[in-house]
């Protein structure tokens, strides 16, 4: 499960259409910063700024050794964020169902002590 601060960063990163387009491009394969600049018609510093946000959210990583440090998509946080969403209702319905079984057990214990 992603911690809340990390989820905030993931959702913050995904809230921008340019950054979503960059991710969609990277889903086709890794790319250098220059390769990303061309199709978006934005300046290199602007693309780099977006990449920094994506990197801070763990959604992309940069190659270390290669000269052009290609950017690649990191799918795990995205998949985790998608899986984590919507859990709250299910989480509590599951818990309250267990609680129902558990209070039956508690009731049984009480009556076992001679009350009923």
């Amino acid at each position: 499960m992603l911690e809340a601060g990390h989820l905030d960063r993931v959702f913050g990163a995904l809230a921008d259409p340019t950054r979503r387009a960059i991710l969609a491009r990277l889903a086709e394969g890794e790319a250098t910063v220059n390769e990303l600049v061309a199709p978006f018609g934005l300046s290199q510093p602007t693309i780099s700024k977006h990449l920094k946000v994506l990197q801070g959210a763990g959604l992309v990583s940069r190659g270390r050794a290669a000269q052009f440090r290609p950017v690649r998509l990191e799918a795990a946080p995205l998949a985790e964020a998608a899986g984590w969403i919507g859990n709250y209702r299910g989480f509590w319905e599951a818990g309250l169902e267990r609680l129902e079984a558990y209070v039956e057990e508690l009731k049984g214990k009480e009556s076992g002590h001679g009350e009923d």
């Binding site: 998608a82 919507g86 129902e100």
Partner: protein, 160 residues
């Protein structure tokens, strides 16, 4: 602090009837030895369960998933306790800057049966959206749907 949002937009309510007195349900919510037995889904045991059940006292929980890894702890403070009737606490992940929700659990007993109402007040629309699955509607647009679908079907990227 962000802008002020209407409280009704930030709320979420879940209710359930129990064939048990309020007193027992209240007890099940207030003691760690009980909480460990039912809190959360099957397969996600509370492996950290510290409870100082008094107004101003704190609780701290963490669950361990099927992969054996303990997840980020969460917890908060008991804000209000009315024995057998009502428990109010705040709750958030143990992470810097994590937002907190305020949870009110009330127990209404009628002839031996109890209606449990759990009301959650999220700190922001984004927090609510994140927890309730409206995340895709929250200023994100349909592009993310496709992206998430695509990514779900993807292999992990190979390294190097």
């Amino acid at each position: 602090m962000g802008k002020i949002e209407p409280a009704e937009d930030l709320s979420f309510v879940i209710t359930r009837h129990f064939d048990a007195p309020a007193r027992l349900l209240f007890e099940a919510w207030s003691r760690p030895e009980h909480l460990r037995r039912w809190f959360g889904p099957v397969g996600w045991p509370l492996t950290l369960c510290e409870v100082d059940f008094r107004v101003g006292g704190r609780f701290r929980f963490a669950m361990t998933g099927p992969d054996g890894r303990q997840n980020t702890p969460f917890g908060g403070e008991y804000l209000e306790i009315t024995p057998g009737r009502r428990i109010v606490y705040d709750n958030g992940f143990d992470a810097p800057g994590a937002e907190k929700m305020i949870v009110t659990v009330s127990f209404e007993e009628t002839s031996g049966r109890t209606l449990l109402t759990m009301h959650t007040l999220f700190a922001s629309k984004a927090m609510k959206a994140m927890h309730l699955g409206a995340g895709f509607e929250w200023g994100v647009g349909s592009g993310l749907d496709q992206l998430a679908e695509m990514v779900a079907g993807m292999e992990q990227p190979t390294v190097g």
